[in-house]
């Protein structure tokens, strides 16, 4: 068959024209829903930080716990500030760029997520661990109790690092590899 014949055969499949007015209504609703969902996700993230700060603030006036409260507020502000900086650089992909550039952008977004998860021990777990240690020593009971709490919290933080860096990063890398092979045509 010639190219012209393939093309004609392909274009013979002409689906019925849609009700564009109804489609526009649906799309406006979907677009609004998407906007609200993004706004709510951001509010939840920063709302959690504000909640922690609100809970710790009264403790700032406590003669023994003021340092714990201050450190907690600083850690929360630091983590949220770091996340905000990361999100600030994220711009929605321009859908009208050419496909090769779009594919590169898609892979770059995987790389960014992998970097963020891979460095979780520095910007998330380490400050929280330091704060938990401060809480442990400021509110310490006997030596054994302090040692148990120290080990328990350190193990918990270690688990969070493992979950992100080992499990999360591995999964993202595998996904990136699949997308890369799809874009290069190695897999259909």
């Amino acid at each position: 068959m010639s190219d012209q014949e393939w093309s004609e055969l392909w274009r013979q499949d002409e689906p019925p024209v849609p009700d564009t007015e109804a489609l526009v209504r649906d799309l406006a609703a979907m677009s609004e829903k998407l906007r609200r969902r993004t706004r709510n996700r951001n509010l939840r993230e920063y709302g959690a930080g504000i909640f922690v700060a609100a809970v710790l603030s009264p403790m700032l006036f406590h003669p023994r716990l003021w340092l714990v409260a201050l450190a907690g507020i600083l850690v929360t502000a630091g983590v949220l500030g770091y996340l905000w900086l990361q999100h600030r650089d994220e711009k929605p992909a321009d859908q009208s760029m050419d496909s090769a550039a779009y594919g590169r952008r898609l892979l770059a977004s995987y790389d960014r997520q992998i970097r963020l998860l891979g460095s979780v021990k520095y910007w998330y777990v380490a400050p929280i661990w330091a704060w938990l240690m401060l809480v442990t020593f400021v509110t310490a009971g006997g030596r054994t109790a302090t040692a148990v709490r120290f080990c328990g919290m350190t193990a918990f933080c270690g688990f969070i690092v493992w979950l992100n860096e080992s499990y999360g990063v591995r999964k993202l890398r595998a996904e990136r590899e699949r997308v890369e092979s799809m874009l290069s045509g190695e897999k259909s």
Binding site: V24, D94, Q95, M97, D98, A100, L106, V179
Partner: protein, 171 residues
Amino acid sequence: MPAMDTTRFEGLLLRYHGPLRRLSGAYAGAVEAGDLFQEVALALWTALPNLRGESSERTWVYRVAHNTAISFVARQRKLREREPVQPPSFEPASPDNPERELLVDEKRRRLQRAVHELPLPNRQVMLLHLEGLSAAEIETITGCTAGAVATRLTRSRQWLAERVNHEEEKR
């Protein structure tokens, strides 16, 4: 979106509805073609205010549609491991000459299946070629060089001829 843009969007949908439906089927398969079509329409709706005279309307629409499809397929591939994607299947046209129409429908279905099974970069180039876009337009949309477009087209033609004719011989 302002009323003028809504009218513009409706016009765009009417002009490109057929190609976008066919593109959705070729990328997403039968079951999810409707979902992809809706995502493409939403992407066009969102991006329309940015459409200026820098590129032609046709290349702009295809760029947005193909990029949305790439993201869709990337997400879909996670699910594919659990559930295989159904190749596109379309309703046969109501025939005046039933026997001949049936044969044409069958051939078209084979063509659609073969396009759906092409590796993604070749599928993209072939889809645009089948929709009647010029080599220069395909280069603008895909960001590939003229040489790469020509190579992909040659490979895809061979693939289509093999697949469609092979199935025909089997019958």
